[in-house]
Every structure is written in C-alpha cells, then in structure tokens.
C-alpha cells in the first residue's frame, strides 16, 4: 500500500542534477576502462589458476608473492575455471567442496579467501542469486554457517579471532564456484607472529542438510529477544537473550561461538604474514600494512583515518578503498582496524593521519 502522507514527504527528496551528471560521467569513465575486462583477464586467470593448483598440490603457502596477491585481489570472478582443488585444506560434504584459496595477515587483520564449489549440481547459485552481498553467511545445513569465527594458531596455542560474516566476492557459473572473503581482526596477536595458520569451521558438513539458504543478515547486537528466523523449508528458531538458539528439530547450537562438537575444525592453511610499518599518534600505536591500518591504544582512540598517497590522491570510502572497520580489545586497551577494500602498498603511502593528527613513523 502507498501512503499519501509518505508520498508527499519523500517525493521532494530527489537525486540532485549534479549527482546524476557524476554518475553518468563515472559510467562513461568506467566504460572506457573496462570493455575488454573479461576477455583480457581470461588468460591471466588461467595462469593464476594453474599457479594456485600447483600451490595447493604441493602445499606451498598460498598467495606468496606480491604479484600473485595483486592479481588475486584484481579479479576473482571465474578464477576457478580450470582449477582442481586438492590437498588437506579442503572439506567435502555431499558433493560440496570448500577450500582456502589465499590467506594474508599483517598480524592484526587477516584476509582469507575461501572457494566453495558444488560438484554435483547447481545448489550454490541460489545462494548468489540476485544478491550483491556485503556480508551474510552461507548456510549449508541448519544453523551452521561456513563460517563465522576463525581460530588462529600462532604457535603458542589457539586463539579465537573477532570475525565478521564473509562477503561474497563472486560466483563463477561455469564451474559453480562461489568465492568468499573473510576479513578478521585478531586482537590476540601482538605485532604479528612470523607464521600463523587459520582454520575455518565447516561444522555444517556432516549434519542434517536443508536446501541452501541465505541467512538473514542481522547485526548480532541488534537481534531482538523473541525474534524468529524461519528457513525456506519451514524450520526455524527463536532468539533468546542467552544468545543461544534452539532449532525446531531440537538441535542445539550456539549462535555466536558456532562451536559444533560433531565436526571440529578443518580447512587449515598457512597464512602469509605481511610486513608492518610501525608508528605512533598521541599515545596510540599505529601499524600500517598493504591490507589495512591498526590502532592500539587506550579506550577512546578514535577519529577518522585518512591516507594520502604519493600521487597526491586520498582514497576514501566512497571510492571503495576503505573496507570494514573492526574493533576489539582486552581490558582498557582497544584495537581498531580499518582494512582496505583493495591493497595499498605501504611504499605508495605518503602520509597517514588519525583524527587529523599526523602519524609519525620510526
């Protein structure tokens, strides 16, 4: 139903003429840059897929070279077209394979790419469907995400990260491969161990299947007591204040820890650790790497983080450079991380400011 009062109130809100011009100009500009993109990258993807296959088969750390990493960031779609996954870092259930494609960390942020492929049908396409996702969990079975939390083994025991649901980067319809990206802040790190490993919870595998379903994207802090979630097959659950969810099939699991004793943790992969550039602003420590900026300091460390590149440009969120901002911390120390949507090599950064104050690097 349309409401007349609403219609009057909102119809005055219009996109400005200037904004329209900007959009049309941007499309023209975009069109000039991208007409041959798919065709151009096809050989690149094939070469990259071959390189990745080699890495997987031989157990070499994935995404090891900056060049390879740059390409990985550059074009994900269709990257799996010639690839045959293998090795121990792959989980398989009911014809669905999942494996870690690349994993990078600077000690504070981790960026992990996971590929999921249905070898027996077209079940994953319904997940991708019409959605250009910014978050969202991929559910393969009732109540189990692939995956929500990640665990790091820094060599001194396993630590749980603070994580967000993955972003769906793309879906290659030719091979039925879905590419997911996880960005995680690990407040357990302290400046970056030389090597870590990451495990992804595929607790979903091995439990009862339902049709693949997108989980409603809800911020956990905003989920309401008594709120009901219903899956496509009619099953569902009700949120209670203890943050525990009771499935209507009497299966019991914990939503936010997502610990499933049935299956454990698989998909272990090495993670390439990136070099950090260390600096300070006020009393806060600042760490800059290719994939993001991290602040460590007292609670209240805040302010807009901005970067000026050597060419004078200033990447902004609107340009898609800055990605998620994540917070974590222990006691009165806070760790704040802004991960970039695309990598920015540290050598290209001219200056970095936090809340308008320049960061001084040693």
């Amino acid at each position: 139903m349309k409401n007349e009062a609403f219609e009057r109130a909102f119809s005055d809100l219009r996109l400005s003429g200037e904004a329209r011009e900007r959009i049309l100009d941007a499309a023209l500009e975009d069109g000039r840059k991208a007409p041959a993109r798919r065709g151009f990258f096809r050989p690149l993807r094939a070469a990259l897929a071959a390189a990745l296959s080699f890495c997987l088969l031989t157990g070499v750390t994935l995404a090891a070279s900056p060049e390879l990493r740059e390409r990985l960031w550059g074009d994900f779609s269709g990257i799996k077209q010639d690839m045959e996954p293998g090795g121990e870092n792959m989980a398989v259930y009911d014809g669905v394979e999942a494996w870690i494609d690349s994993a990078l960390t600077d000690g504070y942020i981790a960026v992990v790419h996971v590929a999921v492929r249905d070898t027996q049908g077209d079940r994953l396409s319904s997940v991708y469907n019409d959605v250009v996702a910014s978050g969202g969990k991929l559910y393969l079975t009732k109540g189990n995400a692939l995956s929500y939390c990640m665990f790091y083994d820094s060599g001194e025991g396993v630590e749980m990260s603070v994580g967000y649901p993955p972003e769906i980067l793309g879906f290659d319809r030719d091979t039925g491969t879905l590419m997911l990206e996880y960005r995680i802040l690990n407040s357990g790190f302290s400046g970056g161990p030389s090597q870590v490993s990451v495990s992804i919870n595929t607790g979903a595998f091995g439990t009862e299947r339902i049709p693949i379903e997108r989980f409603p994207m809800e911020d956990k802090t905003e989920i309401e007591q008594g709120e009901q979630f219903v899956f496509a097959d009619g099953s569902g659950y009700t949120v209670d204040t203890t943050h525990e969810i009771t499935l209507d099939t009497s299966t019991f699991t914990s939503m936010f820890n997502n610990i499933n004793s049935k299956t454990g943790w698989v998909l272990v992969s090495d993670v390439e650790t990136l070099p950090l550039k260390e600096g300070t602003v006020g009393e806060a420590s600042v760490f800059l790497s290719d994939i993001g900026v991290t602040l460590r300091g007292k609670s209240g460390t805040a302010g807009q983080i901005s970067i000026t590149l050597r060419d004078g440009s200033e990447p902004t969120a609107a340009e898609g450079w800055m990605a998620d901002d994540q917070w974590g911390g222990v006691y009165d120390e806070i760790v704040r991380t802004v991960s970039f949507a695309k990598p920015i090599p540290t050598e290209e950064v001219e200056s970095l400011t936090v809340g308008g104050a320049a960061v001084s690097f040693q």
Partner: protein, 155 residues
C-alpha cells in the same frame, strides 16, 4: 547496455535508489555516494532482468546492502550530524522528521512499505529478514508514527 540506456535507467530509478539510501543513511552526500555505487553496479553487471519489477527489486536490495556497508564505515569514522533534508510543507516536514528519527531498520521498512508499496513479505526479501521481523519493525514504526498518520487520515 549502452550509455544512453544507462542514462534512462538513472532517470527512471535514480530517485528511488537515492530515497532508499537516504532513508537508511540520513545524509544527502552519503546517499548520493551510495546511489552512484549502486547504479554503477547495474552498469557493470551482465545480469539480464526479467522485468521492470525485477530491476527495481535488484536495485533496492543492492542499495540496502551498500547502505549497511557504508553505515558501518561512517559510524566508526565520521561524527554524524543527522540533519535530514526538509520538504516545504509543514505536515510533510513533520512526517519526514519523525520517520528520520526512527532507528534505521524501522525507517527503511516504513519507507519501503508506505512509499514504495512493498508487502511485508517482499520487504523481508529485500532486507534479508524474516517476514515476522519486518512486521514487528513496521508495528514499532507505526506506533511512533500513529499520531501523524491518524491526522492524515482525518484530513
């Protein structure tokens, strides 16, 4: 899609995408940034849309997703001085102010329901929430808007 066709799409859907973004983000500059991002996604996609309704649905869904992404970033980085734009007529201004004073999820649901005319089921699909949740959000929005809407009905 040719650039001329794209211009037609910006003309047809630009205001709608902008309003959805504005109802979520409250600020013209942010809403325009999101509108640009969303329309450029449409420009770049190879997707074939079955109908005009399919196109609208896709655009709103992508807008909702982009707003979530943008809101997360803005919340952390920019102190938001939330000053919604105001239409001229006083009664419209009051309604807009009240809607914009609602929590984000409530005002997006209210906008999609009352302005775009989507059903609760459709809104559930648009914002990736169960229909029951949408109904509950609308009920809470209605509660706050009751007086204004009642006055409107009496006119």
């Amino acid at each position: 899609m040719t650039h001329r066709e794209f211009a037609g799409i910006v003309e047809t859907y630009g205001d709608m995408v902008f309003r959805v973004a504005f109802s979520a983000l409250k600020r013209r500059e942010d809403a325009e940034d999101v509108t640009q991002e969303v329309l450029l996604k449409l420009w770049r996609t190879d997707k074939v849309f079955a109908s005009e309704e399919h196109t609208r649905f896709w655009l709103i869904r992508v807008t909702v997703n982009e707003c979530r992404r943008a809101a997360r970033w803005y919340r952390r980085n920019i102190p938001v001085e939330e000053v919604p734009e105001r239409p001229d007529a006083p009664e419209s201004r009051e309604l807009l102010d009240t809607v914009m004073g609602l929590p984000e999820k409530l005002r997006v649901a209210a906008y999609l329901f009352y302005y775009e005319g989507y059903s609760t089921r459709e809104i559930g699909r648009l914002v990736s929430a169960p229909e029951a949740t949408v109904r509950s959000r609308l009920a809470r929005a209605r509660e706050k808007l009751r007086d204004i809407l009642k006055e409107e009905e009496n006119l």
